[in-house]
């Protein structure tokens, strides 16, 4: 223990005078060679030794190991790491070797090594000049609860000026103290209170592991009091979180169903190939990303905005083709339409399978869609947030087209009274084709968003077709607002049922409820007059 403390002190001094230090190549070699092995346990102890050694290159070596850029030469156990330019640097001298080494073996990493790395890097970067790095270091210590960092923590807390970073430091200190058997009772009670204020799952986990076996009665009482406070808060939060999940599932359902709300809801075509339009949109996104990856990688963040209009065009064109070649001969014959579109859907699936292979394709997430926004314990993932906003935007845009454009006016006229519309000089077959193309195109746009959360595979569409019909029928055939409300209420109901009944039973209950509802109100939430009703 004392030895480790002195090592830490040495490390602190070492870090403080890092710039002016000579490189101790011989000593460094001995410590570094411990990493030149295939044994994970040895690598783990090597990391701890390296972190405590104060060798100039240690931070660079550990970072390289974390990014798997570290290798060793089996012949003499020399350690090298790759720098940003892809050149091997000799870790012992922290300089370019006279010639680039060959026959290197990578130093392998597993979860144990990774944990040791996080802890070591955490305690090494507590003094970093960058507040972001200091914060990350504090969080790493919070996880590793490495008692040897306590002295360092106390000194950095005293010096820290940034209140947010200081908060993280204090929480890290509390995490170390709460389970340290030889810490004073006041320190541990204080730590329990501090963790209680932090109030998240991680703090709760720490507080729950305080028991009579490892703490005095007073500490256990303080910990369980703090844990109760956190549990209460988390129970409230989980309701809000469920509502958020429901909203997010609802937005996915809305996206999947909104194209169908046009082709089935408005035109009355039982379009089983709807899911494949969504799939085509997702594959368009994949193709766009592949081209961007190979031709202009810097544009990657723009891949989705570029894919949206293209996906619309691809799916709309395919939709137009299907309407002109198949569906227009089958108007007014719902059963034949069902079979024909189902056949089309199988053909499209197999075509995509032949063109792209049966395997899933990787569609990457742009940087603004990755990560979590933590609102005091309430977690919002950016990807989901964007999808909710996007689905609402698509909904409003579609509503705008139906209400505000002359095409929309004609569409509504044909739907309400086909003969009268034809008599007024509207070319109804053209409007039919355009309406179907619009619905298909919107499904293609949905595919762009769904490629972010689901498999991009030939089966993508099939997993959404049932849910889409459910939403449209439940919301009321022929009404866009009904589709919106139907999607959101189904999403919310699903997510509130899931924690209680489980995913499988929850879905069954929901289907049963919808069947009962449709029995009472066959036309769904909102019933509209239109061609679908007349038939």
């Amino acid at each position: 223990m004392l030895r480790r403390l002195t090592l830490i002190l040495g490390l602190l001094i070492g870090l403080a005078s890092l710039e002016s230090q000579p490189v101790w190549a011989d000593d460094a070699n001995i410590v570094l060679k411990r990493l030149a092995t295939d044994n994970y346990g040895d690598i783990e102890t090597g990391i701890t030794a390296l972190a405590a050694s104060g060798i100039a290159s240690s931070e660079a070596v550990l970072n390289a190991l974390a990014d798997s850029r570290l290798s060793y030469r089996p012949s003499d156990k020399a350690i090298f790491f790759k720098d940003a330019s892809g050149q091997w640097i000799d870790a012992a001298t922290n300089a370019l070797p006279s010639e680039q080494p060959t026959g290197l073996k990578p130093v392998k990493v597993n979860n144990r090594v990774r944990r040791a790395l996080d802890a070591a890097l955490g305690s090494m970067t507590l003094l970093s000049a960058d507040p972001q790095k200091r914060m990350a270091a504090a969080d790493a210590v919070f996880k590793s609860r490495d008692a040897t960092t306590l002295v360092a923590l106390d000194s950095v807390i005293a010096k820290e000026t940034d209140p947010v970073v200081r908060q993280h430091f204090e929480e890290a200190r509390a995490a170390v103290l709460i389970l340290k058997p030889d810490a004073s009772e006041t320190d541990r009670v204080g730590a329990a209170e501090k963790l209680g204020q932090r109030g998240d799952q991680d703090a709760l986990a720490l507080l729950n592991s305080v028991t009579e076996a490892n703490a005095s009665f007073v500490v256990v009482a303080a910990a369980s009091l703090a844990a109760k406070g956190i549990s209460r808060r988390l129970a409230l939060l989980s309701t809000a979180q469920n509502a958020w999940y429901g909203l997010s599932l609802g937005s996915v359902l809305l996206l999947a169903a909104i194209g169908l709300a046009i082709t089935f809801g408005v035109m009355g075509i039982i379009n089983m190939a709807h899911g494949e339009m969504v799939m085509l949109g997702a594959y368009t996104t994949f193709v766009v990303q592949e081209i961007i990856r190979s031709k202009a990688p810097s544009l990657f963040d723009w891949s989705l905005p570029i894919a949206i209009p293209l996906a619309f065009c691809v799916s709309a064109l395919v939709g137009l083709l299907i309407e002109r070649t198949v569906i227009r001969y089958l108007y007014g014959r719902p059963l034949e339409t069902l079979l024909a579109t189902w056949g089309v859907s199988l053909m499209l699936q197999q075509a995509v399978r032949s063109a792209f292979g049966a395997n899933n394709r990787e569609v990457g997430a742009p940087s603004y869609m990755a990560g979590v926004w933590n609102l005091n314990g309430f977690q919002i993932t950016y990807g989901r947030l964007w999808i909710i906003l996007f689905s609402l935007a698509v909904f409003l845009a579609l509503l705008g087209v139906m209400r505000g454009t002359s095409l929309g006016l004609r569409m509504r006229a044909v739907i309400q009274n086909r003969r009268m519309a034809a008599a007024m000089g509207i070319r109804t077959p053209v409007i039919d084709a355009l309406t179907f193309a619009l619905g298909s195109g919107v499904a293609g746009i949905a595919g762009v968003a769904l490629s972010q959360i689901d498999n991009v595979s030939p089966n993508l569409g099939q997993s959404y077709i049932i849910d889409s019909f459910l939403v449209v029928v439940f919301g009321g055939v022929g009404n866009l607002w009904g589709t919106l409300l139907g999607a959101l209420s189904l999403g919310l109901a699903n997510k509130f049922l899931e924690p209680i009944a489980g995913a499988v039973l929850g879905k069954i209950i929901l289907l049963a409820v919808i069947i009962l509802f449709i029995q009472r109100r066959p036309r769904g939430l909102f019933a509209l007059k239109g061609r679908a009703v007349e038939q």
């Binding site: 592991s209 989980s238 599932l249 049966a358 979590v372 689901d454 499988v504």
Partner: protein, 428 residues
Amino acid sequence: MKKLISKMAVSALVASSLVASIAAKAEDTIKIGILHSLSGTMAISETTLKDTMLYLIDEQNKKGGVLGKKLEAVVVDPASNWPLFAEKARELITKDKVVATFGCWTSVSRKSVLPVFEELNSILFYPVQYEGEESSKNIFYTGAAPNQQAIPAVDYLMENEKVQRWVLAGTDYVYPRTTNKILEAYLKAKGVKPDDIMINYTPFGHSDWQTIVADIKKFGSAGKKTAVVSTINGDANVPFYKELGNQGIKATDIPVVAFSVGEEELAGLDTKPLVGHLAAWNYFESVDTPENKDFIAKWQAYTKNPKRTTNDPMEAHVIGFNMWVKAVEKAGTTDPSKVIDAMIGVSVPNLTGGLSTMMPNHHITKPVLIGEIKADGQFNTVWQTPGTVVANEWSPYLEGSKDLIADWRAPLSCGNFNVKTGKCGGKG
């Protein structure tokens, strides 16, 4: 009457000549059936296995075939439709006269063809890891039984990661349900409290994992080290792993060990957030042996795709096919009933540098490998059994199956022999 007799004679003549011509045709080549879905939901996994078989047959023909005859593949598409599997199997055996069939992926498809293979006394090689609790005279199981995959994985987590709390998450069908039943009994036998086990099932193709992943996170914050044992199947895996990444669950906090996620599934994913999550298999593409390097090079040359991945069920087909070839050469005939007897005891090299042997229970011996996902979508083997493991087709941890054994050697010749009652047939 005379007329009738002559009519019968003519028709008999026609029939016999027909049979003769078919037989003559069948003499030219040895036909091998390939029964893998090429369309529908399972096509994603099974298409590769069809290609593997075509590659293996091609390789064997380059070496001169078997018993001096060329092999010919008969490919049918059961289209992920379970009853169709049985129909296609019957068609392969009776119409195409195949002498052995390689096929099936899901347990339900295997259960569907099993009576057909038993009735017509033909051979099926089944290459996928499965829940056990079965041994048929006509099926050779080249995939892993639970004790060749699930139980070593749990042991690894218990010993090396000191896991005390367990989430058993699976898709709602027979393989996850049986595997989780075995695992639950095993964990309890190891002293894990019922409170420390959470079991969760989801429908096929489940895509919204937000609530369940949040639940796992909550379950994992009880102050004990937690791990997820995943028997989630097929397409549901990608959204599951995406959600884990989204909610920031790292392998260093809550590791997930999967039994149905291989190189193929990871191909559709950005694996950087998943680094360190685990999978248990009997083979990884990254295994560093000369046999494996040679196989990958030839396979990629055959498919003309330098990026084509390999996976565990493919290795199972490689082993199964080589075993069949060896057994046929040993028996000197392709007659299924003789080959079935010749199969037991046959040993062939596997791709991980050892020998796999066909045991009397119609399962093979395999090494068990635990791998961590790397950033490039491959696995880094972090642990491996010292030798190969013999399959327990009947789990010793389940009531009703712990007294059963399978041994297809004469005089026992039984797939479910009860050692307590000393009788063949039926559960306990």
